[in-house]
C-alpha cells in the first residue's frame, strides 16, 4: 500500500515546508527558553565551582553573599583559619555595577559583577580559577582581571566608580548567577568602591564631625583626624570563602563555625539550593509559563493547519471512503501528516536554536536531553492536534462524493 500521507506531502511540499518553518521557529523559541533556564542553572553552578570554595561564611541569619546582602568584618577570616578542618580562607566582596571600558573615543559601559579578592592569592578561594591571558592580581590597587565576556582587552583601562584600573589578566566563564561577567579587583579597592561617597558628601561629613565638640577637642590633638579616617574607611566584606582539608566533612567543619563564631555557613550543596531554589526560582517559573504558552500555541497552530488541510480535502476523503478506503487508513494519513509537520518543525527549531543561541547576551545551554524531551512533546502535541482533523474526516459522508 502506498503512503497517502507521504504522497500528499510530496505534492504540497511547499505548503508543508513553509508551515513547518513557521512552527519550527516557534519550537526554536521554546528550545531556547529551556536553554535560557539551563544557562541560568549552569551559570549558578559555574559561580560555585569557579569560586573554589567548599564553605561560604556569611553574616548571621542571612543567605548571602549571592541571594542577600551580607556584611562581615574583614578580620573574621583570621579566626576562621584557626578552626579545625579549614585549609584556606579568604575575604571576598561582590558588587554588581556598571564598569566603563576606557581607551576608545566612546567609553563602553557594561554591567559586571565586581569581585574584591586578596591580591597575590593564587589558589585561594574566590580567585579566578584560570586565566586565558595575562596574570593574576599582584598589586594591592588599581589592577583588574576581567572575564572575556566583558569585551575588555589586556592592558585596557577600565573605570569603576571614580578609579581607573588596568586589565592585567583575562579569565573565562566567571559569571554571576545572573549571567553578568566578573571583574576581579583588589579587595581594598572593592571595599572602597562599595561604600565610596562623592566628594561633596565627604566634605559635609568632615565639617559635621569637626563641629562636634566631643570629637574636636582642643586638648586632644589627632582625635578628629582619627575619627574622620575611621569614617572614610570600610572594613567590611561580604563573605569569607573557605576551603577545607582534603577528606574533611564540610558539615563537620561548618558546624563549629556556626556555633562559635555566630555566623551563617553554607556548604556547596546548600549554596546550590539557595541559588537554584530561591535566586532563580522566579525566573524559572516565568520560563515555565512561557514554555506552557508556547506549547499551547504550537498545538493550536498544528491543529489549525492540519484541520484546514483536511477540510480542503473533504471531497477527496469522501471519494476515498466511497471507493472503500478504511477509516483507519484516512486517520493514519492525517496523523502521519501532523507528525511529519512536527518533525519538520522540530528540525527547523533545533537548527534555529543552535544558530541563534550564541548570539543571546546571556548563556543559553541547549541540552540534548531537553531536545529529546522537546521532540517527544512535539510528537505528542501533533498527535493530539490531529484529533480534531481526524474527527472531521471520519464524519465525512461517502455520499458527498455522489451529486444531488
Amino acid at each position: 500500500m502506498i503512503s497517502l500521507a507521504g504522497r500528499d506531502i510530496a505534492h504540497a511540499w511547499g505548503k508543508f515546508v513553509l508551515t513547518g518553518i513557521g512552527l519550527g521557529l516557534l519550537i526554536g523559541v521554546t528550545l531556547t527558553m529551556a536553554g535560557v533556564y539551563r544557562g541560568m542553572v549552569d551559570d549558578a553552578k559555574a559561580l560555585l565551582d569557579n569560586s573554589g570554595a567548599d564553605l561560604w561564611v556569611v553574616q548571621q541569619d542571612t543567605q548571602g553573599p549571592y541571594a542577600e546582602a551580607s556584611s562581615l568584618s574583614d578580620d573574621t577570616y583570621r579566626s576562621i583559619l584557626g578552626m579545625a578542618g579549614v585549609a584556606r580562607a579568604a575575604n571576598v566582596t561582590y558588587l554588581t555595577m556598571q564598569v566603563s571600558g576606557l581607551g576608545n573615543d566612546k567609553p563602553r559601559e557594561i554591567r559586571a559583577m565586581v569581585v574584591g579578592i586578596t591580591p597575590d592569592g593564587a589558589g585561594h578561594p574566590g580567585q579566578p580559577a584560570y586565566l586565558v591571558a595575562g596574570r593574576q592580581l599582584t598589586r594591592s590597587h588599581y589592577e583588574a582581571v576581567a572575564d572575556i565576556a566583558t569585551g575588555f582587552a589586556l592592558g585596557q583601562q577600565i573605570r569603576i566608580r571614580r578609579n581607573d584600573y588596568t586589565v592585567v589578566g583575562l579569565t573565562r566563564r566567571m559569571v554571576s548567577s545572573g549571567g553578568d561577567p566578573m571583574v576581579f579587583i583588589p579587595i581594598k579597592d572593592a571595599q572602597q568602591a562599595q561604600f565610596l561617597k562623592d566628594n561633596d558628601a565627604i566634605l559635609r561629613q568632615r565639617e559635621r564631625t569637626a563641629q562636634n565638640p566631643l570629637l574636636n577637642r582642643p586638648g586632644v590633638p589627632g582625635l578628629l583626624d582619627a575619627v574622620i579616617a575611621s569614617q572614610s574607611s570600610n572594613n567590611s566584606v561580604n563573605a569569607v570563602l573557605v576551603q577545607i582539608d582534603a577528606g574533611a566533612d564540610p558539615q563537620s567543619v561548618a558546624e563549629p563555625i556556626r556555633r562559635w563564631k555566630r555566623l551563617s555557613v553554607y556548604t556547596r550543596e546548600q549554596m546550590h539550593g539557595i541559588l537554584i531554589e530561591k535566586l532563580i526560582a522566579t525566573a524559572a517559573r516565568q520560563i515555565a509559563m512561557f514554555l506552557v504558552i508556547l506549547a499551547v500555541v504550537s498545538a493550536a497552530i498544528v491543529a489549525f493547519i492540519i484541520y484546514t488541510l483536511t477540510l480542503g480535502k473533504i471531497r477527496e476523503i469522501a471519494v476515498l471512503k466511497l471507493i472503500g478506503t478504511r477509516n483507519r487508513t484516512i486517520a493514519s494519513m492525517i496523523l502521519q501528516q501532523a507528525v511529519a509537520l512536527g518533525l519538520i518543525g522540530f528540525i527547523v527549531g533545533k537548527v534555529s536554536a543552535t544558530f541563534w543561541a550564541p548570539i543571546f547576551p546571556k548563556y543559553v545551554l541547549l541540552e540534548t536531553g531537553d531536545a529529546l524531551r522537546g521532540f517527544v512533546a512535539v510528537v505528542i502535541i501533533c498527535v493530539l492536534a490531529s484529533i480534531l482533523a481526524i474527527r472531521a474526516a471520519l464524519k465525512v459522508d461517502p455520499a458527498e462524493a455522489i451529486g444531488g
Binding site: 500500500m1 502506498i2 497517502l4 504522497r7 500528499d8 510530496a10 505534492h11 504540497a12 471531497r315 477527496e316 471519494v319 476515498l320 471512503k321 466511497l322 471507493i323 472503500g324 478506503t325 478504511r326 487508513t329 459522508d397 461517502p398 455520499a399 462524493a401 455522489i402 451529486g403 444531488g404
Partner: protein, 244 residues
C-alpha cells in the same frame, strides 16, 4: 450475515425489485423512491434519466450502498445484497470490490499520479503494488491514456481525467458501474467519446453500467433508458445511435 444470498443465474449484472426509500418518519416522511425496478444485464449500458427531485441521486446512493433503502430487493450478480435490510455487513468492501463509480467531476486524488489513482483500489483490497499498477496500466492502455500514466491529475485535460476516472471505476472488475452525470462537464464530441468508451468497456469486461444523466447529447445513445418520475422507474427503449 457476511455471506450474500445467491439468486438468479448470472454472476454479473444487477437487478432491483420494488425498491423504496423513505426519509424521515411520520408526518415529515418523504418518500423519495416509491417503486424502483431495474434489470441491467452484463455488458449493457442503460441510461437513468429524470427531472430534478425525481429520486435519481437517492437511487444512486442506494445502489452504491451509501444509504440504506427502506424496502425492496437488490441483487448483484448471483448475490442478494439487500432484501428489506443489508445482507452484507461490510458495505465498504462491497463498494470496493463489486461497485465501480464514475462521477460527474472525475474527483481524482490530486496527490497521486494517474497510475496510482487507478491502482489505489486494488491496493486497498490488498493486491500487491506492482500487480495493482500493472492492472492499472492495462486499463489506461485500453482507454488510450497510457501516455499520461505518470502525469498528475492537474496536468490532464477534462476528457483525459474522465477516462482515468472510468479506469478507476473498472480496475477491480466490478459487476456494476454507477456513472453519475459522467459527461456533464464535456463538450458533445468528448461526451460521445466517453459513452462509446463506457459501452466498449461494458462489453469488454462484462460489466453492467448505469449512467445517470440529464445530458440531451448522450440520451439518444442508450439502447435502453430508465425514466424515473416521482420515485417510480419506467423502462423504455432508447435509440442506441452512434455507439457502434
Amino acid at each position: 450475515m457476511d455471506k450474500p444470498v445467491h439468486a438468479g443465474s448470472q454472476d454479473r449484472g444487477i437487478r432491483i425489485e420494488g425498491l423504496r426509500k423513505v426519509y424521515g418518519h411520520g408526518d415529515t416522511a418523504v418518500e423519495a423512491l416509491k417503486d424502483v425496478n431495474m434489470v441491467v444485464a452484463p455488458g449493457e449500458v442503460v441510461g437513468l434519466v429524470g427531472p430534478s427531485g425525481s429520486g435519481k441521486s437517492t437511487l444512486l446512493k442506494c445502489l452504491g450502498a451509501v444509504i440504506e433503502p427502506t424496502s425492496g430487493r437488490m441483487i448483484l450478480g448471483r448475490d442478494v445484497i439487500y432484501h428489506q435490510r443489508w445482507m452484507i455487513s461490510d458495505l465498504r468492501a462491497l463498494r470496493r470490490d463489486k461497485i465501480g463509480f464514475v462521477f460527474q467531476a472525475p474527483y481524482l486524488i490530486p496527490f497521486l499520479d494517474v497510475t496510482d489513482n487507478v491502482a489505489l483500489l486494488p491496493m486497498l483490497a490488498g493486491v500487491p503494488n506492482a500487480h495493482a499498477r500493472k492492472r492499472a496500466v492495462e486499463l489506461l492502455t485500453a482507454l488510450d491514456v497510457q501516455h499520461r500514466a505518470r502525469a498528475m491529475p492537474s496536468q490532464l485535460s477534462g476528457g483525459e481525467q474522465q477516462r482515468v476516472s472510468i479506469a478507476r471505476g473498472l480496475v477491480n472488475r466490478p459487476p456494476v458501474i454507477l456513472a453519475d452525470e459522467p459527461t456533464a462537464p464535456l463538450d458533445s464530441g468528448r461526451a460521445l467519446a466517453v459513452i462509446r468508451i463506457l459501452n466498449q468497456m461494458a462489453r469488454q469486461f462484462d460489466t453492467a453500467i448505469i449512467v445517470v444523466t440529464h445530458d440531451e447529447k448522450i440520451i439518444p445513445t442508450f439502447k435502453r433508458i430508465y425514466h424515473i418520475r416521482d420515485g417510480v422507474t419506467h423502462d423504455e427503449p432508447g435509440e442506441g445511435r452512434g455507439i457502434d
